[in-house]
């Protein structure tokens, strides 16, 4: 049998106990049997571990123990006092990454506050990440009002004069920019092609019209048919070439168009817009005249959706007495 003794950490006056207790004497009649029962013995009689005699009921680690830097023999080479600490000082905010970002940008702005700025509105247009995109990046439930603080800081940093913009500001701003800047997305300029054609696209309601306009003597072919064959109503025929008629160019151009979707009115007015856009490429100076004729602006109205409780979009059911 091997001797076993109670270490003093059990704190219950180990000097009162016998220095060693033979394994065979572990009976219930032993004076310290209630104490000893709490101690688990291995098969060979050595004490493994007992937690029952910890006197302190308070949470572990509140009053941190004194530092002892001498490593134990068994722990040679293992970092002796490895501690678990928060990865960020903003741990207790619940949104550490967001808070760190905010503090970083605030510090940066404080550092470069005195740099000259451009006039309001003259800064390069930047599309910042949307709230949803930012949330995906940080993986935290950031509120819109909180993210707005970051955006305000970014806008202020973006207003620093471009010739003096420091490199660290550039690199700090970059991750907040959207991958595709929609403000840089400008439509291509339409030109007259080698056959003298200009394509113009017009839309109205749910119709789409593609119009090829060439200089000519006033022929009109829509979906391969003459104007009369496509639009039985005189008003629609007038609408389709209204851009040419309003500017007195009916006999100067030929129209070849493909139009699809929607009804006759929509198709006719889609053609108006398409013809006007093509005509503007041939003669840009006609723009004021075309605008006065109402041919430049896209009419954005669509069919209004039906609502519950209504017969159509807005029509109420007839009133019935009971």
């Amino acid at each position: 049998m091997r001797a076993a003794w109670l270490p003093t950490k059990f704190g219950l006056g180990s000097q009162l106990l016998p220095l060693w207790v033979p394994f065979s004497q572990q009976t219930s009649r032993h004076p310290y049997s209630s104490l000893l029962r709490a101690i688990r013995y291995s098969r060979r009689g050595t004490i493994i571990e007992s937690r029952q005699f910890v006197t302190s009921l308070t949470r572990r680690g509140i009053a941190a123990p004194e530092i002892c830097f001498e490593p134990k023999d068994s722990q040679k080479g293992i970092p002796g006092h490895a501690r678990v600490v928060p990865a960020s000082p903003s741990y207790f905010t619940g949104k550490p990454e967001f808070t760190d970002n905010l503090l970083f940008l605030q510090d940066l702005l404080r550092k470069y506050q005195t740099l000259p700025v451009v006039q309001p509105g003259q800064a390069p247009r930047v599309a910042w990440k949307t709230l949803a995109q930012y949330r995906l990046v940080v993986g935290e439930p950031v509120k819109a009002s909180k993210y707005h603080k970051i955006v305000l800081l970014l806008q202020r940093l973006n207003h620093i004069h471009p010739s003096l913009l420091p490199e660290d500001v550039k690199s700090a701003i970059a991750p907040y920019k959207r991958d595709v800047n929609p403000h840089e997305n400008v439509p291509n300029q339409r030109t007259v092609d080698r056959f003298g054609r200009v394509i113009g696209v017009g839309r109205r309601k749910s119709s789409t019209a593609r119009v090829w306009l060439v200089e000519g003597d006033g022929e009109v072919l829509i979906n391969g048919k003459p104007l009369v064959g496509v639009f039985p109503r005189v008003h629609d025929r007038e609408s389709a070439i209204w851009a040419l008629k309003a500017t007195g160019r009916i006999d100067k151009y030929n129209v070849w168009a493909l139009v699809e979707g929607g009804g006759t009115t929509g198709q006719a007015e889609a053609l108006t817009l398409g013809v006007a856009r093509a005509l503007l490429v041939h003669e840009p100076s006609l723009k004021p005249a075309l605008r006065r004729a109402g041919c430049v602006t896209r009419d954005p109205r669509r069919v209004e959706r039906k609502k519950p409780g209504k017969l159509k979009a807005r029509k109420m059911p007839a009133w019935v007495k009971r």
Binding site: T58, R59, G61, I62, A64, P65, E66, I67, F69, E70, G77, I78, P79, G80, H81, A82, R83, V84, V85, P86, A87, S88, P89, S90, Y91, F92, T93, G94, P96, T99, L103, L115, P116, G139, E140, H161, P162, S163, L164
Partner: protein, 334 residues
Amino acid sequence: MILRQLALRQGRRVFIPSASRPWIRFLNTEIERTNITVDNANEANLDYIGSQTDIPIAPIEETGESLVSSSYTMWLNQKKQTAHLGSTLDPHYKPHTLINRPPSPKDVTLELLMASQAHLGHATSLWKPQNQRYIFGIHQGIHIISLDITAAHLRRAAKIVEAVCERGGLVLFVGTREGQDRCVVNAAKLAGGCHLFERWIPGSITNGQQILGRCKMKVVDDLGNEIEGYEEQLIDRATLKPDLVVCMNPLENYVLLHECGLNAIPTIGIIDTDADPTWVTYPIPANDDSLRCVNLIAGVLGRAGEEGQKKRQAAALKAGFTGPSPNRKAGDAS
């Protein structure tokens, strides 16, 4: 003959870069003529600065962008040239110094506390009678806090912060009122602790897994260097709780202090005459409505934490701890 100045004024002397400066100018009978117009004003300025300094100034191009940067450089240059001019001010209050270079606990004096308005309490009708022992008297209807008690309690709190930091504890600095964010963040930076300057999320201690479950932790050694290789163990580890909470505005943070009480976490708080001193473990009777006072107290406690961290590092270095070897992973017993 027009003699505008017979003797040089003191301020002008410093403009003279060398002896080549034409003294004759002051004895001149004619007025100096310059042909500066709006168009060439900037060039004229540059010429003037170029004549005044040894620093060469790059010629400006006529584009707007470089004009801005060159004007800015010129302004910086001018500022540098004229920085030492003018009168010398007596020592005065500079708000940023309390943030950037806060005083340490041993610099705390009653004069400093009084200058920071730490003694001003609230109207007598708003008082909490538990604060009677901290109150010096009544002046113009408000309670005056006794500054010797404030200083004593502040030093005691500083010792606590220092000792907790020395033993590697986690100190949380909380100041959720408007304007308290910078001092709180800076104190946490000095003390190597955490900061909170927005709302305390109720349950961050008592229900930590739900609220702080996604916040990352790391394992550091005695010198504060991160040890790699514990990532898997950290995933299902319980969230951290602070070992000490320093609260700048206990009135608005009752929930936080209550949670600390439930978890036996000691708290330090600025207790104004209308606050309940039993909410915190170690009260500092002072004015919590003055940003200057709050900046001072947060700075002092941050410095104390910094001192504790230094002692901890020194003890580790003294014991020969130089940090784990870089290529060892957690779990290697060799």
